[in-house]
């Protein structure tokens, strides 16, 4: 049953546009109606339109009109009339041929020029009834056709519909698919530069980021996610191995000075982006060496400290100054910095571990303090039998470190069940492999001591950790307790920002900090990182640093340097990506060979990186533009006239959710203008299975501007070959300046299909298109030239 839909008659273009705008995307224009109604009956859309605005009664929208400089065709001109129009048949044969090739005679009696151009994709996944496949083109995440039945789909790659799921999941929005494509072309430096646009420390994140991107990777629902982690580390190390290739000097010094407090990931990121904008940047840190949590909390076996050293050197090389051993807040309040600097970013981290009110807590040490003291040189285990309380990454790191320092027995106890633990799953697995004990769903009740020494901990059963709203609210069953004997207790719970460093107005918790600019309520002071968010990931800290840099640039009135990278029109992928393959992961050392200082995981080698890069789907839409008229109008260099603007046809087609054009909400096509060109020979040929109703499996439009027998300029456009009509520029160049015959037509056809990337089941389309291009060229050459004189007698 079709959902009821309002019918609104548009009495004028303005009124129709107004109605469409008022419905805010919930109404659709109705031209011929031959296509839209079928879609409505099948309920193919995620949300069916509430109203149809009929354009048929609007006057002045149909007809072919000859003008001095070309031909203007009204948007509502019916396809039948285009096919029969004497002006078109004489001047632009290809257009009449294409109109004649659309669908069936009955549909041509109703279907319109603009309707044909604006039709939605014909992809059978898109069109499946009841929105069965909520695909990327309809606002979903994946393209089902890419690995499904794609016999009619694109042979030139996909086109992006918004952001890929990996990029959308990444806190810094890394364009992962773009750098993987560059890697496949062996353009390693450019690939690394893509990451540097949003993340100055990929060598770090490639090692410690939880990679939210991988969790969203569409490959995950197919076989296994692409190992973004391994590739990111490879590129990060590549940057640090060849820093000279990535160092830059800001185009212009701004003359402004910026202070950054805290040299953890957030401070480092802010420093990089601020320096890139031309500011003098000074980073302060209370510790002896820069890096913050990267240096003092994350163990060396996860993140070697040489990597941190080199990251800091990299930043120093672009001109960031580090002032270490100075504790802002204790030695001087952040606002004092404003006397010397134009603006300040504070990112002090979440180092405080406030008391949790545990009996005997004084006999414990915190996970962070333990890890930091190991980084500063502590080489002895904290005890023989160590109990670590906590289920997060710090707890796991503390437990593994204690074990590797020689503790005889290390046990972790956490409130959560195994599946709820916030630590990364593979980190927990590695810990268990090394013999670390794990007791889940237990909370500490008190620390047992005897003569001032720890003898054990009494634990109580935890029945649930989170309340119905998902907030942390543990419940305990006090009847069920358990005593674990141990001689050292490490508490790795409840990290907080160190609020003693704050001054009024820069409180970092709560609504004090603007989530977009990271501005505090004190003018000129910005804050971010764990200090604001509470304990979070490195990549989230980088994101905050980048937001702050943008906010500070806005505050200083500095215009950020623009990226020079322009996105590809078509996204290519390796054909091997379309078949199942195994993921290559950074390989861990065997448990018995793991040490305190050597990195646990081995990076991917060149071959593994290449193989993983080839697994990326380069997610986009592979539905083709099914219009017969679109390639012809592209070949004729037509201009689309809308109710708001006039634009070249090549800029008109686009891939976006529920749309095949760049039309804005309410914007309507009013007509098409085809400029007159002297001595033009045109043709359109179409391949389909049957002679009526079918959409093109492939089409080719050719427009040759002749000078005698010589082709002066050629326009060759492939239809149904890609998500938009695709110009075959290489083929055009083959013909230009020549007097082509069959041999040149064959050569041009081959050139047109160079670089095709067929999918799993549409390789035949490459042959078909090649044959069509040749035929279309021959057909155009054989056709009669348009009259030499301008205008008609």
């Amino acid at each position: 049953m079709m959902k009821p839909v309002d019918y609104i008659r548009g009495n004028s273009l303005k009124a129709a546009e107004k109605t469409l705008v008022e419905f805010e995307g919930r109404a659709r224009p109705l031209a011929g109606g031959t296509d839209l109604l079928g879609g409505l009956k099948d309920a193919i859309h995620p949300a069916p339109p509430e109203a149809l605005v009929d354009l048929k009664r609007i006057e002045g929208l149909s007809g072919v009109e000859e003008r001095a400089d070309g031909v203007y065709i009204g948007a509502m001109t019916r396809l039948r009339d285009l096919a029969r129009d004497p002006v078109l048949k004489e001047r632009f044969k290809a257009l009449a041929q294409a109109a004649e090739a659309v669908a069936s005679p009955q549909i041509r009696n109703m279907g319109t020029l603009a309707g044909n151009l604006c039709q939605e994709p014909r992809c059978w996944y898109y069109r499946n009834p009841h929105n069965t496949f909520h695909c990327a083109r309809k606002g979903g995440d994946r393209c089902n056709a890419l690995t499904g039945d794609n016999r009619f789909h694109s042979v030139f790659g996909s086109m992006r519909v918004g952001r890929t799921p990996c990029t959308a999941a990444c806190p810094v929005q890394t364009d992962i698919a773009a750098y993987l494509e560059l890697l496949r072309d062996n353009r390693v430096d450019e690939a690394a530069s893509v990451i540097l646009e949003v993340n100055p420390i990929p060598a770090v994140t490639g090692r410690v980021c939880p990679h939210f991107c991988e969790q969203q990777c569409n490959r995950g629902g197919y076989d296994e996610p692409v190992s973004v982690r391994g590739i990111e580390r490879f590129l990060g190390d590549h940057i640090l191995a060849h820093p000279d290739r990535f160092l830059f000097l800001p185009a212009q010094e701004s003359g402004k000075s910026v202070a950054v407090v805290g040299s953890g990931p957030s401070g480092l990121a802010a420093a990089w982006f601020l320096r890139r904008s031309g500011h003098r940047v000074v980073v302060f840190d209370r510790m002896e060496k820069a890096g913050g949590m990267l240096r003092y909390a994350i163990p060396s076996f996860r993140l070697p400290k040489e990597v941190v050293d080199r990251v800091v050197e990299f930043l120093e090389a672009v001109g960031v100054t580090f002032v270490l051993g100075v504790e802002i807040g204790r030695d001087a309040p952040p606002s004092k910095l404003l006397e010397e600097h134009d603006t300040v970013y504070t990112a002090g981290g979440a180092w405080a571990t406030p008391s949790i009110g545990l009996e005997g807590e004084a006999h414990t040490m915190t996970g962070l303090a333990f890890l930091a003291s190991v980084q500063k040189g502590q080489a002895a285990a904290p005890g023989k039998r160590v109990l670590v309380i906590g289920g997060g990454n710090v707890a796991v790191d503390a437990a593994v470190t204690a074990g590797r320092l020689g503790a005889e027995e290390v046990v972790m106890a956490c409130l959560e069940s195994r599946g709820e633990m916030p630590a990364l799953d593979w980190e927990v697995r590695h810990a268990l492999e090394e013999g670390i004990g794990l007791m889940t769903s237990l909370g500490p009740l008190r620390v047992l001591t005897s003569g001032g020494r720890v003898t054990g901990v009494e634990l109580v059963a935890c029945t649930s950790v989170f309340d119905a709203e998902g907030r942390f609210a543990p419940c305990f069953d006090t009847r069920r307790t358990k005593i674990v004997s141990c001689d050292a207790v490490i508490l790795a719970v409840g990290q907080r920002p160190d609020s003693t460093l704050n001054e009024p107005g820069t409180e970092t918790e709560g609504p004090g900090v603007d989530p977009v600019t990271q501005a505090t309520r004190v003018q000129g002071i910005f804050a971010g990182g764990d200090a604001v968010s509470g304990p979070a990931t490195v990549v989230e800290a980088i994101a905050a640093g980048h937001r702050a840099a943008r906010g500070m640039n806005a505050f200083l009135g500095t215009v950020e340097p623009e990226g020079s990278r322009s996105p590809n029109l078509m996204n290519r992928f390796a054909r091997s990506a379309l078949a199942p393959s195994a993921r290559r992961e950074p390989e861990p050392r065997p448990p018995e060979a793991r040490t305190r200082n050597e990195e646990d995981l081995k990076g991917l080698d060149n071959d593994q990186v290449a193989a993983e890069a080839s697994r990326c789907f380069n997610c986009g839409c592979v539905a083709v533009c099914p219009s017969d008229l679109a390639p012809v109008l592209t070949a004729l260099e037509a201009r689309i006239v809308t109710s708001r603007r006039t634009l070249p046809v090549e800029a008109f087609f686009a891939v976006s959710p529920l749309s095949s054009t760049v039309l804005e909400d309410g914007e309507l096509v009013t007509g098409v203008f085809i400029p007159v060109q002297k001595d033009l020979k045109t043709s359109y040929v179409k391949f389909r299975i049957r002679n009526a109703i079918d959409f093109p499996i492939a089409g080719a439009a050719v427009a040759l501007q002749m000078e005698g027998d010589t082709v002066r300029t050629a326009r060759i456009v492939l239809g149904a070959a890609a998500p938009v009509p695709l110009r075959a520029r290489r083929a055009e160049r083959v013909l230009e300046g020549k007097t082509p015959g069959e041999a040149e037509a064959v050569e041009a056809a081959e050139a047109a299909l160079k670089g095709a990337v067929p999918l799993g089941s549409n390789a035949y389309k490459v042959n078909v298109l090649q044959a069509l291009v040749k035929r279309a060229i021959m057909k155009a050459l054989a056709s009669q030239q348009t009259p030499k004189k301008e205008g008609r007698p």
Binding site: G38, R127, G148, I689, R690, N691, S761
Partner: protein, 109 residues
Amino acid sequence: MGLGEALTEEIVYDPATGIPLNFNWVDYQIPTMLDIPPVDPVPMEVWEGAGEYGACGIGESVTTCICRAVANAIYNATGARVDSTPFKPEKVLAALEAVKCGHAEGEGS
């Protein structure tokens, strides 16, 4: 009917989910008036049908031979055997490739 079976009609399923993809008259392709080649009708009187008054069906029985005729026509024209219906371009192309590479099964093998 015979031509549809031979050349166009096929239900396509999504390989991952088994959901049919062409449950409509646009994507499930039945030949139309425009696809019917010139027909040359020749009445043949053979035997009396088994039905009342000697009636017999003349429609469906004809369809069974169309597929073979088309398959043989493809073979006759190209030397390639396509062994599953419908004989769509991609299958014919694959069969042609096989002939080129010498993997095709010869007549009678």
